[in-house]
């Protein structure tokens, strides 16, 4: 499973260019700006400095669109190569399957990160224009946490793409899993206390095994103007996220290396 970094970066560049050629990002960016500005133009009791509801709507749109972009883009990378038969000339070159998968995943992650950065810049400008202040640290932390969370989701989608036959089923499963973790993840252990054995142990095992992507959601802190998170805890969170991304990517590489392509 030896990897060459220049092969990975070349493959990442290819998948990034492919993502930017598609119009998905531009459409959702325009949609986010239009929807947010439309909401922002509503006059609530002649109080121009009200910002909470606009921040909330803008962040919700950013979260939904970033997730959709990340999952749909990642889920189709490997299956489309296999379906079009382009995987064979690609593998005929001096690149390994691991390099192909890691390169494509990295490309998706960086491209999504650039899109996310633009989203957060727009969000910060909007919030600052309303509140006349900006917590730079918390905005940076929110962006980084969100990007790392997307790393976990992208690696999950790549693992799904080498397991499931169709990208559509992989996309649906990934979306359902991510939403379920976001909603239930934090409460699973508490819920398990009211269950009887063996369900209790099963739920607890799930609770401690799943990547808690809800931890990366800083929306409430941003919307209600809380101070930035302590940096030592924030870096621990980033390590936690990178760890899960690596776990999913490694499993995906192992499965992809053993997969019969035809």
């Amino acid at each position: 499973m030896g990897v060459k970094l220049n092969n990975i970066s070349a493959l990442a560049g290819v998948s990034m260019r492919e993502m930017y050629r598609r119009k998905d990002f531009y459409v959702v960016l325009i949609l986010t700006v239009i929807l947010t500005l439309a909401m922002g133009s509503i006059n609530f009791f002649n109080e121009p400095s009200v910002a909470g509801y606009i921040k909330e709507i803008c962040l919700l749109l950013i979260w939904i669109f970033a997730l959709v972009i990340a999952i749909t883009a990642s889920a189709r990378q490997i299956p489309s190569e296999i379906e079009n038969g382009t995987i064979f000339p690609l593998l005929a070159k001096p690149v390994t399957r691991t390099e192909v998968l890691v390169g494509k995943a990295l490309g998706c992650w960086i491209a999504t990160g650039v899109a996310l950065f633009i989203f957060y810049v727009i969000f910060a400008l909007l919030a600052a224009s309303r509140e006349h202040s900006l917590d730079f640290s918390l905005n940076v932390q929110s962006f980084l946490a969100h990007w790392i969370m997307l790393g976990i989701v992208i690696s999950m989608a790549f693992l799904g793409s080498v397991i499931f036959a169709a990208p559509s089923s992989n996309t649906t499963i990934c979306l359902v899993v991510v939403v379920a973790i976001m909603v239930l993840g934090r409460h699973l252990n508490r819920l398990s206390l009211n269950m009887s054995e063996p369900m209790r142990t099963i739920v607890q095992v799930i609770y401690f095994s799943i990547p808690h992507i809800e931890l990366f959601d800083f929306r409430n802190l941003l919307v209600h103007n809380y101070p930035a998170v302590a940096w030592n805890k924030f870096f621990l969170l980033l390590i936690y996220g990178v760890g899960y991304s690596l776990i999913f990517t490694l499993i995906a590489c192992l499965v992809f290396n053993r997969k019969r392509l035809r």
Partner: protein, 289 residues
């Protein structure tokens, strides 16, 4: 070509059928909705019964903003709370006062595990109310207005928003919003009472305040006559304000009448009796002079 003709006929037949059905449904819907509510607008036509649910969710969102995101989920046990904190305390704080130390949304508990402990650094885990930060209460207002747009018959939207607007010094906006509420809910005693308070406490227009509060009292009596368990809390508030107006205007007999009625419902009748006695004493003094 031969096969296409029957298909075209089939499409025309289905179209005519759908058109006729749509016309019939439209007639039926407009007649039934007219019976239900004359005042409902665009949202009622589009959303139907769902608008009440959306209104309730938006009202809940306003409560989340009041607690600045520190809010229990459906999985967190709170001490059997009913309704929202905003409504129970902030709606009428001049009568109750808000006890910030004993908020019903307090769900703080020991962390169960390391994930639970670790996660508390990344979401609001300190209970602070919106009114504890400068002009923080303004963030609640958009949700209340949106809730009122979706469900114009939810009275709390108007009363709570009016209270916060008054606390921000936006008296005109508070009055305008209450009048919107009265247009959607004509003669509602709670809305009339809030409007009366604006005239009494903010505009200092005692004549108008008295008229509106008397109308509120009359409307309350009309509604209470039809109910098994009338809202005596609202009655107490109306009576207190009316009695205060009459006492300040030295119209003691009427003030005593209101206080006498209030005494029946008040948890502290001794304090009211004391006020009645004081006024009676004042009356006898002025009669002696």
């Amino acid at each position: 070509m031969k096969q296409k003709i029957p298909t075209v006929y089939l499409i025309i037949l289905l179209f005519v059928l759908c058109f006729g059905l749509a016309c019939d449904l439209d007639r039926w819907q407009s007649s039934s909705s007219r019976k239900q509510d004359e005042s409902s607008g665009f949202f009622s036509a589009v959303l139907g019964e769902t608008q009440g649910l959306i209104g309730a969710l938006l009202y809940l969102k306003a409560d989340v903003y009041f607690h600045r995101g520190y809010y229990p989920s459906i999985f967190d046990n709170t001490s059997g709370s009913k309704g929202t904190e905003m409504e129970k305390t902030e709606g009428h704080p001049d009568e109750h006062g808000h006890n910030h130390e004993k908020c019903e949304k307090d769900y703080s508990r020991e962390p169960l595990d390391w994930i639970d402990r670790f996660s508390r650094s990344f979401y609001p885990s300190v209970h602070v109310h919106a009114d504890e930060i400068p002009r923080g209460q303004k963030e609640i207002l958009p949700w209340l207005k949106l809730s009122a747009t979706f469900d114009p018959h939810r009275i709390e939207n108007y009363t709570v928003a009016a209270f916060w607007l008054r606390s921000l010094g936006k008296i005109n906006e508070a009055e305008e919003f209450l009048r919107d509420g009265l247009r959607a809910n004509p003669g509602n005693p709670e809305l009339l009472f809030e409007l009366g308070k604006i005239y009494k406490d903010d505009r200092k227009d005692i004549t108008k305040a008295r008229n509106i509060l008397e109308l509120s009292l009359a409307r309350w009596r009309e509604i209470a006559a039809k109910e098994k368990e009338p809202d005596t809390f609202l009655l107490q508030q109306i009576l207190v304000h009316l009695a205060q107006i009459e006492r300040d205007q030295k119209n003691y007999p009427l003030a005593i009448k209101y206080f006498e009625e209030l005494k029946k419902y008040s948890p502290n009748p001794q304090a009211i009796q004391k006020q009645i006695d004081e006024m009676k004493e004042e009356m006898s003094k002025s009669a002696a002079n």
